[in-house]
Structures are given as C-alpha cells and as structure tokens.
C-alpha cells in the first residue's frame, strides 16, 4: 500500500488534465493504495469553483472531486496565490478583499504552496496532471 499525492494544473473543460487525474485517482484506490491529497495549482484552481455549471450531459468536475473527498477522505488543497489572481476565493478571503461573493468552499481549502511541498515529502509518489 502506497500513499499518492496528485498535482492538478489544468482547468476543467479547457484541459483534459482534471479528467485524467480523477480516473487515475480511482485506479489508484482500486489497487489498494491511498491518496494523501490533491493539490490544485496554476489553472487547476478552477476545479474548485462553486459556480461551475457545465451542460447537463457533462461531468461536473467539482462534484466528482467532492465525491472523492467524501468517500475516501482525500484532502483537496487549492493554492491561494494562483486562485486569487484567477478569480477564485473563499468566504474569508472575500471579506478580506471586500468582495460580496465567494466561489470556493469546503471541502476545498485555500492554502499556500508549502502544502504542495509537504505533500511531496509525505507521499510515496507525486503524480502531476497538466
């Protein structure tokens, strides 16, 4: 049994990276491993958007990540610097920036890049999807 970390750097619907990462994650779990965490960086931060509304016949990627979190306790970390400049923020960041709305909520957590390095240290394998 090994611990896997995933680094996701592509946006849903613009890049196939999130789809690949999700399918990989399920295959990892099916082989009896654990997923120590997923870190969303670069355009990958868009995976966390509460306001994502894809057509009915397409997978809602945010919901697919949440399912992974709920069923397998996989931590979902979003790089705060990458998120803020791309228009993604949590309720507390919205307060800090004087915004009326927010579009990141648990189980997605805004965090620093240190979390990625910590994940890389902690996991037996870090696999990047970009």
């Amino acid at each position: 049994m090994m611990q896997y970390g995933l680094l996701v750097m592509g946006a849903p619907y613009s890049s196939p990276a999130p789809h690949s990462a999700l399918r990989f994650a399920h295959a990892v779990l099916a082989r009896g491993h654990q997923i120590a965490g997923v870190f969303f960086y670069h355009d990958g931060v868009h995976n966390a958007s509460l306001l994502m509304a894809p057509p009915q016949d397409e997978l809602n990627l945010r919901e697919a990540w949440i399912e992974l979190n709920q069923q397998h306790a996989v931590q979902l970390d979003v790089c705060i610097a990458a998120a803020l400049r791309r228009g993604l923020m949590s309720e507390s960041e919205a307060h800090r920036h004087g915004k009326q709305a927010f579009n990141i909520a648990p189980p997605f957590e805004l965090t620093g890049l240190g979390q990625l390095l910590e994940l890389q240290q902690r996991a037996d394998r870090l696999i990047t999807f970009a």
């Binding site: 090994m2 896997y4 750097m9 196939p16 990276a17 690949s20 399918r23 990989f24 399920h26 295959a27 990892v28 099916a30 082989r31 491993h33 394998r125 870090l126 696999i127 990047t128 999807f129 970009a130």
Partner: protein, 96 residues
C-alpha cells in the same frame, strides 16, 4: 528510475524536452494528446525507449486511434497498468 508521462503530441516542445531527459532505464507513459504518437511508428521515442513506452488505451479509444495502434503493433496499457507503472518507478515526471 523515472516514469515520464507525456500529455502533448509527439511534435510538441514537451515531447522533445522529455526525450532529452529520459534515461536508459526510464519508462514512458503516453496519455491525452500524446497518444497521437500511435499514428507514427517512426517517432524516435519508440526506438529510444523501446520496450518501456506505452499508450493509454482509453485515450486512444476516445480519439479513434485504438485500431491504428494495434495495426502498428504498439504497446498499450489501461489506467490500471498506468498505476502499476507508477508503483514500479519511484519518481514520475509529467511533460506538458
């Protein structure tokens, strides 16, 4: 020993850079746009990584390239086999 994961077409900068970094005992997994390599058995990476380079079959199927990969006799893996490779190789580097 490193598993190199390529997500871009064989004519991309990412592919060229990957080929510069692949060591003698490394393996290569071709996913997403990289499965276009199925059309070109003369791509240099097929020789370079001979016996340790694989196409992701579900990405071939999605792009209509599964039968050409078979005709060209190229090795494929399912997602499960991709994970197995990441178990065997202690590091993974993605080229995009």
């Amino acid at each position: 020993m490193i598993l190199h994961i390529l997500t871009k077409a064989p004519d991309s900068n990412a592919a060229t850079q990957m080929q510069q970094a692949v060591g003698d005992r490394d393996a290569v997994m071709l996913i997403e746009a990289a499965v276009i390599a199925a059309l070109d058995p003369s791509w240099t990476a097929w020789q370079q990584c001979h016996a340790r380079i694989f196409l992701l079959s579900e990405d071939l199927i999605a792009r209509g390239l599964a039968s050409i990969a078979e005709v060209n006799g190229l090795p494929t893996l399912e997602m499960n086999g991709f994970v197995a490779l990441t178990e065997q190789y202690e590091k993974a580097v993605t080229w995009y």
